[in-house]
Point group: C2
Chain length 300, copies 2
């Protein structure tokens, strides 16, 4: 819950960014620790970004009255998985992108082998953090978090979506196929954020869990449609990655399939659905409503 009833969750984002930064600092091996280049590259890969996934965890924590210290491990773990996935996605054999978060991607700043290994090690570190985080919830809850994160990151989640995405370049996809791809590629991990936060609360009402799950699904897909729209509209400077990339690589996107205006409309509908899904939490859901509005307004 909003502790003083006045400020918005959005005002607390800098505090949560600082928390996450401190947690990552605690868990990432020092850049001079053997082997130094690998640890440097891991730190480089984990820097920056909007930290949307961590914010969803902390906002869900507020809504469920879970102390943020109970969720630092989960927030850290999910951002490490996200960071690794970007490193691997940018590789020449994958999306071949030289720019990420406004800087050279890891295989350009270092080399391909280091990028592959840094990604691999970031994934392992995510699970180490969840397993080793004695300040977090009790063992059974953390084991569930490991399970949720592993499932969301794996072949039936993020990696699976990326595989479909790569196989899709240059071929037609219908709307159902495109949505299925994104529900895997970005949706699964975003949904896992909400479900992981739920693990930190005991005796959770099933309707609350379902509501948060549906909120996560809607936000995940809306976020991806937005990403496609911004890729058409934005320039590389605003995006921090190469703009117009989807069209250039002939990838199926929502704007290509539905046009820009219908795509934006579809995203807007999903945000409405996300808000509606929070009904079982009634007033406690305020931080999640505020974060959804914040995401809906990004880059406008």
């Amino acid at each position: 819950m909003n502790p003083d009833g006045a400020t918005s969750f959005v005002d607390r984002i800098p505090d949560y960014h600082a928390r996450l930064h401190a947690a990552l600092e605690r868990w990432l091996p020092a850049a001079d620790h053997y082997p130094a280049t690998l640890h440097e590259a891991m730190r480089y890969a984990a820097e920056g970004g909007k930290r949307l996934r961590a914010l969803l965890i902390y906002a869900a924590g507020e809504a469920l009255s879970v102390a943020p210290s109970m969720l630092d491990g989960a927030a850290c773990a999910v951002e490490l998985i996200h960071a690794y996935s970007l490193v691997h996605d940018d590789l020449p054999a994958m999306d071949d992108d030289e720019l990420r978060r406004g800087r050279p991607s890891v295989h350009k700043a270092y080399d391909e082998a280091t990028a592959i290994l840094a990604g691999d090690a970031l994934q392992a570190l995510a699970f180490h953090v969840l397993a080793h985080d004695d300040r977090g919830p009790e063992a059974r809850a953390r084991l569930h978090m490991v399970d949720l994160l592993a499932e969301a990151a794996g072949s039936r989640g993020m990696c699976g979506g990326q595989a479909v995405d790569l196989a899709a370049a240059g071929r037609q996809m219908n709307l159902a196929e495109l949505e299925a791809m994104h529900i895997h590629k970005t949706g699964a991990l975003i949904r896992a954020c909400l479900l992981m936060a739920c693990q930190a609360r005991t005796a959770l009402d099933a309707r609350v869990l379902d509501g948060l799950d549906r909120y996560g699904k809607c936000i995940g897909l809306a976020f991806q449609i937005q990403d496609d729209v911004l890729d058409v509209e934005g320039d590389s400077e605003t995006l921090g990655k190469t703009g117009g990339k989807d069209q250039a690589s002939n990838k199926p996107t929502f704007p290509a399939l539905l046009g820009l205006s219908v795509s934006s409309q579809r995203a807007a509908e999903l945000f409405v659905e996300a808000h509606a899904a929070l009904a079982p939490l009634s007033d406690a859901a305020l931080p999640l409503h505020q974060l959804a509005d914040h995401i809906a307004q990004r880059a406008r």
Copy 2:
């Protein structure tokens, strides 16, 4: 313990291979499950091999009187991590090897992007198996297993060793540096096998734990020295991977540093040390003695 006092652990290897095969079959998504190519590639990558790591877990299980059903998840998880590491090691940007376990490596049988993603998804699956394995030990023990495996697979273990290995091509290394590299690259995961098996036993004597840890360390390093020696002596057909590769790529190896005969001598000493480390388990250690002898005799 050896159940009938007559057969050797070596005679039971086919049974353990069958157990592991069944467990992998249960956990790997079906090859026709969406996205099919990725799941096919994951299954291809997970096939074959000596399964040394799983055997160490089952042998430790016998020594500790832990039922093998309690260790199927751990055996599966560690073999999935090993399989993923081979897929990524073989990539053109890494060791660039076209042959693995006597067949085309994953990026040759499929393509580079699929190999990267299959490796990533196999790593995630390993942690999913440990977290989701309700037939295994209780939650706290499985969470410790996650921690041990994540630490061993990450930048302070396997990935770190591989990074040092890649950076070392063409440059001199002394014996201490070479051993440090291998203790990370292959030793950490082998050592984790023994420690993971210990998690399935409650109230374990600290001397037993230390003994198994030391056994794992010695076996891990001895195994790697053997690997270097076999790479010089063996042809590709016997090895199932490209022979003479280390020398061709100018990698530091034990034979290059010490000569073949001193290297073999060093491996033999480590096997002696491995046997000695089992003293705290007295007669119960028989399966581990037998497995160590079996490893010492491979490819002769």
